[in-house]
Structures are given as structure tokens and as C-alpha cells.
């Protein structure tokens, strides 16, 4: 009897509880822009109402343009924000399917500066995700709106934003027989377009310095194409180096201190790097083929370039001292105009195949090649400073002019960038300081 009891006790001690936790792997997704509500910023005083509406309008437009957010039409709101220092009634925002909510305030200060506050709220979690405050001159309100957009973008996606940037491009106006090409600059959203040159001479392939408000480009001021540096703030222009021969295809190093360019001698082009401070110049390629379009990796240790040494234009990579030159593009057609992403993970390029021009990306070892633009003649990509978005030139079929288009690195959200008239050769500035 006692033995039975002992044995039963033994069994009871050995019995384990049932652990019934289900295991689930979600691997399919439905990638959609995040629905977000951005009501007009609350005015500090009634006279601030226009500023509050303007700023919210630019933030809504920025986030919508990125393709990752879907600002809900303010007409659908059922609630009204009057005080950004109280917690919102989240049920009223859930009801219109908002997953994010931005509340903000704009107030002109007694000292004449404009103060802008905003908060980003998680509607499901009912908590604040971000809160910031800016002071600026009132005429800079657009920049503040872009800084707000950048902060929201970064908090939600994990990536740095790109709205507080500018685009330099070649603007084309006038009749087909007398085209005027001028260097122009505008905000990333197309606002404030300004001409930088008068159009007396041709300007091509502008490229931005990653650390300063300076552009390098190619121009035919004399008879030969030469590389020039242009200071945006002062408007001053200087020729880069005094080479007897043609120089073209300039690109800055990531620290902004060097320019890689292509120098032509007797029909042969090679890649050189010039130090902007010492003006010392170093030759990197000696191949008899045409080597051009150099681009630095963001760590400054490598250069990708275009060469036809293999028989057709293809993309090569070498160390910044010219060693280890090796080909990385093996896909169809001709591949050129490489541009290394600021994120370092990808190289954008133009593929010419079967009469078409397309913009694509590949990894730095040449693998993972894929096309991301869908037009008939798309070329000349430039990266946003966050390495996520690109712009490129699209030529309308039939030679009916050129436009600038943007696309996400995933190939999504291809859309036209509004410019005053025709435009080409976009170059994306770094984030403004």
C-alpha cells in the first residue's frame, strides 16, 4: 500500500505541464505606405495660422512623395487638435485608420524668429514617438518643414531623411533650334528654382560636393570641355587644373577634398585624382581604352568607373590608388555611368541594351543586378544622401525633351520631379547644414 503511494508520488513528480505555445512565422507581407494624419500646425497666435497650414502642407507633401507614407485627407478627420501639449484622443484617429499622428504648433516669437514644435504619436500604442522644437527666421519655414519631415521619416523607417536637400540640374528652355541650357538649382520638392548660369556656354554633368555647397561640372567655355568648380553661395567659378587637354566627368571624394576626373590624351581617356588643397594630381589608369565616369565608395577606399577595355563599356572597380582593377558588370548590353550609393551597399548605373537605356543597381561585387526604372531612355542616376532614393534623366520618346524622374531603390514609386521646363542631369546635394 505504501509502495503504491510512493510510486504514485514518483509519477506525479515526473509529469510535466503541457507547453502549448504556438510558433508562427510570418513571411509574406503587404507593403503599403503608412497611413498618417498630419493636421495643420496649431497657430500660437491667430496670425500664425497661415504658417501652421503651410508647414503641415509641406510635411504632408514630402512624406507622400517618398511613397512610404499616406497622409490622410484632412477633410476626413473627426477630431481637431487645439493643444499639442495634451495627449490626443487616439480613438478618434484610429477610427479614420491613422497609424501615425503628427501634431505641431507654429508661433512667431517676440524676437522675430519662428518657433515650430511637433510631436509624432503612435496611434495603436497611444504613446509619443518623437518630439522636437525648431527656431528659425520666418522666411526659412520651408526648411523647417523639411526638417520635420526628415525627423518623422527617420523615426519610422530607421533611415535618414532626404527632404532638406537641393537638386542641381541642367535646365533646357527655348525652341528646338535655339535651346538654352543653364545650370539651375531647386529644393528637392521643386520649390525655389534658381538659375546659376546665364546660358552663354554649355554646362554638362553637374555633381555635388558631399560636404559643401559646391558643384563640379563640365563646360565648354573655351573650345575644349573642361571641369569647373562652382561655389553656389558666392557664384564664383574656377577651372579645375590647367590641363592642355579635355577633362570631364568629375566627381568629389566623400570628404570633399579630392576630385576624380577623366583626362583625355590622343583619343585615350584615363582616370586621375586631384587633391583640391594641394592641386597634386595622380594618374590611376594607364589602359589604352577609354576609362571614364569615376565614382568613389563612401568609405573613400575604392573607385568604380566605366571602361571599354574589354570591348564594350562595362563597370570596373579599383582601389583608390589604382591597384586591383577588376570588372564587376557581366549582365547584358553595355553598362556605364556608375554611381556609388552613399550607403555603400549598391552601385547605380545605366544599362544600354537593344536600343533601350535603363537605370539599374548592383552590389559592389557586381551581384544582384536589377533594373529599377521603366522608361525607354532612362540614364544618369544620382543618389539621395540616404542611399534610398534616386533621380535620373528620362528622355521622352521621339526626342520630345527630357525630364527628371525619381524612383525608390526597390523600384517602387517612380514619379516625375517637377521642373521649370525640360530638365536633365540631376545631381543631389547632401543634407543641408
Amino acid at each position: 500500500m505504501r509502495k503504491i503511494f510512493l510510486f504514485a508520488a514518483l509519477l506525479l513528480g515526473l509529469a510535466t505541464p503541457a507547453f502549448a505555445a504556438l510558433q508562427v512565422d510570418v513571411t509574406q507581407a503587404n507593403v503599403q505606405p503608412l497611413p498618417i494624419a498630419i493636421p495643420d500646425f496649431v497657430p500660437g497666435a491667430p496670425t500664425d495660422a497661415q504658417a501652421g497650414a503651410n508647414i503641415a502642407g509641406v510635411v504632408r507633401a514630402d512624406l507622400e512623395r517618398s511613397g512610404l507614407f499616406k497622409p490622410i485627407d484632412p477633410k476626413a478627420y473627426v477630431d481637431h487638435i487645439t493643444n499639442i501639449n495634451t495627449v490626443p484622443g487616439f480613438a478618434n484617429w484610429r477610427v479614420i485608420n491613422a497609424q501615425g499622428l503628427v501634431t505641431g504648433q507654429a508661433t512667431l516669437q517676440p524676437d522675430g524668429r519662428l518657433r515650430v514644435d511637433f510631436r509624432l504619436w503612435d496611434v495603436f500604442g497611444e504613446s509619443q514617438m518623437l518630439g522636437q522644437q525648431f527656431f528659425t527666421q520666418p522666411e526659412n519655414w520651408r526648411r523647417v518643414a523639411h526638417l520635420v519631415s526628415d525627423a518623422i521619416y527617420q523615426r519610422i523607417t530607421g533611415e535618414k531623411g532626404y527632404f532638406d536637400t537641393r537638386i542641381v540640374f541642367i535646365s533646357e528652355t527655348g525652341p528646338a533650334t535655339k535651346r538654352v541650357k543653364r545650370l539651375a538649382i531647386m529644393d528637392e520638392d521643386g520649390a525655389n528654382p534658381t538659375f546659376l548660369t546665364r546660358g552663354d556656354y554649355m554646362v554638362l554633368t553637374p555633381r555635388f560636393n558631399p560636404t559643401a555647397q559646391m558643384i563640379a561640372y563640365m563646360s565648354y567655355i573655351g573650345t575644349k570641355p573642361r571641369v569647373y568648380l562652382f561655389d553656389i553661395e558666392t557664384g564664383k567659378q574656377e577651372m579645375l587644373g590647367n590641363f592642355p587637354n579635355m577633362t570631364f566627368s568629375p566627381r568629389f571624394s566623400p570628404d570633399g577634398n579630392k576630385v576624380a576626373l577623366s583626362l583625355e590624351t590622343n583619343g585615350n581617356s584615363d582616370i586621375y585624382v586631384m587633391d583640391l588643397r594641394s592641386r597634386a594630381i595622380q594618374r590611376l589608369t594607364t589602359d589604352p581604352a577609354i576609362d571614364t565616369a569615376p565614382t568613389f565608395s563612401p568609405d573613400g577606399n575604392q573607385i568604380a568607373f566605366e571602361s571599354d577595355r574589354g570591348g564594350s563599356q562595362q563597370i570596373y572597380v579599383m582601389n583608390v590608388d589604382g591597384t586591383n582593377q577588376h570588372r564587376i558588370s557581366f549582365g547584358a548590353g553595355r553598362n556605364g555611368t556608375p554611381v556609388w550609393s552613399p550607403r555603400g551597399d549598391l552601385i547605380a548605373f545605366t544599362k544600354q541594351d537593344g536600343g533601350r537605356f535603363d537605370v539599374g543597381v548592383m552590389r559592389a561585387d557586381g551581384s544582384g543586378e536589377r533594373l529599377i526604372s521603366s522608361g525607354w531612355e532612362d540614364e544618369g542616376p544620382t543618389w539621395a544622401p540616404n542611399g534610398r532614393v534616386l533621380m535620373f534623366t528620362r528622355t521622352i520618346q521621339g526626342g520630345k525633351g527630357a525630364q527628371i524622374w525619381s524612383v525608390d531603390v526597390t523600384g517602387r514609386n517612380e514619379r516625375r520631379v517637377l521642373t521649370p521646363g525640360d530638365a536633365s542631369d540631376p545631381a543631389w546635394s547632401p543634407l543641408l547644414q
Partner: protein, 276 residues
């Protein structure tokens, strides 16, 4: 017990003429054996029960601190923001009074599987390759995106439910039913350079009516999210998906609540989708 028998009192019948068993402090051998067995049993049971709770210590990442100076603007938090909490608290769920236009219409759900509980005819308990023959359940499998292919020598047999060890039950149908309700709300940050940064694990507990009772990121995911902005974005996107798609409650068979009341881990892994 052996101590209590160490009195000089004979035990055991002497009726058959056998000598009485010794009852000194040495005690009957059986007492020592039983004691040992019980101790082993206790330690073994403790180990079996609790070993699952032992997790390897996750390497914790240093949390980066950004010191930002902006020339023309000051960046002062308008209110002291809460510390970076990744554990998602349970929100108060309000029943919206508005009509259906405010909610996206979900696709019609396939019929729930009707599981018949049969008396235990099969002898072997742990056959993971048993399939129910119920037609509704087969239809559910056919309609799901990730179709389950049965293993080669699968025997179709009756479905059995056992008391102890119900973790051995084939729960693929429940997992797929939940997956198909969540994934249409899941929008991960697919522009990230490394897809493996975006893999995140949760511990989800559901109420009887299928609504979220609690949602917690796993310790490993919390550590990774603290050091990687993409991981944090992925965790937040997954959390939003879980709350957005619950509606009036996830639709799972109520009679199987003890099997789906906790989902751990609930993993979100976009690598296949991103071809990485």
C-alpha cells in the same frame, strides 16, 4: 521514513516463519532506494519543466547616443520623451461606432477546420506526419499561400488529442490561420540594406475572443532593436500589423484556445520576400 522504522520493532509478518526483517538504523534497503528515486524524480521533473525557461544570455548592444548640434535651430524635446521602450503595452481597444467604410474589408476567410476528436486508436503518440482526413481542413490548406506539402510517407489517420504533451499536436493549421490574418497588415521597411536586420520575434498572448492580451518583443529582438534603427522600425511595423489586423479579434477555433492562447515566438521574417 527509514528513520521512523529504526525502533526495535519487528515489521513484517513472521507468520511464514521467515526471520523478521531488520529494523535498525540501517533500515530496510527499500527506504533508501525510494528516497533516491524520489529525489531523482523531483530534480528530473524540475529540470524538464523549467529547462525551457533557460535562455542563452543575449549579447547586448551598446545603445548609441547622438549628440546633435544644429546651427540655426535648437532641437529641444518639447517634453521629456519617454525612454526607448520596446515592450508594447496593451492599448485600450474602443469599439468604433462608425460604419464599415472606416475599416478595410478583409477578404472572405476560408472555413475554419472542423477537428474531430477521436478516441486514441493509434498506438504511437508522436507521429508528426498524421493528417486529418476532414475535407474542410484540406480545403483550408489548399487556399493558404504557403501550402503545406505532406511528407513523403505520410499516413492519413484520425486526428488525436492527448492530455499530456499536447505540444506534440500538429498545429500547422492554427499557425497558418493566424499568419494569413496578420500578413495583409504587415508592411516591413523593405528598403533596408540587410534583410536579416528586419527579423523580429514576439511573445503574443490572446484573449478568448482573439483580441490581443499582451505583446512583448523577445529579449534578443529588444537588444538588437536598441542598436539598430532598421530593427526597431521592423519591430514597430510588425507590432502595428498585429494591432491593425486584430479587428474584433483574431478568428481561431474557440475550442482550441489552449493551443493558441500564446504564440511564442511570433516571428516576422521578410528575407525570402526580399530575396535575401
Amino acid at each position: 521514513m527509514s528513520q521512523s522504522q529504526s525502533q526495535t520493532r519487528t515489521r513484517g509478518a513472521t507468520a511464514k516463519g521467515r526471520p523478521p526483517r531488520p529494523t535498525t538504523a540501517r533500515g530496510p534497503r527499500s527506504g533508501l532506494v525510494i528516497s533516491l528515486a524520489l529525489h531523482v524524480g523531483l530534480i528530473g521533473a524540475t529540470y524538464l519543466t523549467w529547462h525551457r525557461m533557460l535562455e542563452p544570455v543575449e549579447e547586448s548592444h551598446a545603445v548609441p547616443v547622438d549628440l546633435v548640434t544644429i546651427a540655426q535651430q535648437t532641437n529641444v524635446a518639447a517634453q521629456a520623451p519617454p525612454p526607448e521602450k520596446i515592450t508594447i503595452p496593451k492599448p485600450t481597444i474602443e469599439q468604433p461606432a462608425l460604419p464599415a467604410f472606416a475599416q478595410a474589408e478583409p477578404a472572405p476567410e476560408p472555413p475554419l477546420p472542423k477537428i474531430k476528436i477521436q478516441p486514441d486508436k493509434s498506438d504511437k503518440p508522436d507521429q508528426a506526419d498524421k493528417k486529418p482526413t476532414n475535407q474542410d481542413f484540406a480545403a483550408l490548406l489548399n487556399k493558404l499561400t504557403a501550402a503545406q506539402t505532406p511528407p513523403k510517407n505520410a499516413k492519413t489517420g484520425t486526428r488525436t488529442i492527448q492530455g499530456v504533451g499536447s505540444a506534440n499536436l500538429m498545429t500547422a493549421s492554427l499557425a497558418d490561420a493566424l499568419k494569413s490574418q496578420i500578413d495583409k497588415c504587415w508592411s516591413p521597411p523593405v528598403g533596408a540594406p540587410n534583410a536579416e536586420d528586419l527579423v523580429v520575434d514576439f511573445d503574443l498572448r490572446l484573449n478568448h475572443n482573439g483580441t490581443v492580451a499582451s505583446l512583448q518583443l523577445s529579449a534578443g529582438s529588444i537588444a538588437r532593436a536598441a542598436g539598430n534603427a532598421y530593427t526597431r522600425a521592423a519591430a514597430e511595423a510588425a507590432s502595428r500589423a498585429i494591432y491593425q489586423c486584430q479587428g474584433q479579434g483574431y478568428r481561431l477555433p474557440p475550442e482550441q484556445y489552449n493551443e493558441w492562447n500564446e504564440i511564442n515566438p511570433l516571428r516576422f521574417d521578410p528575407r525570402q520576400m526580399m530575396n535575401q
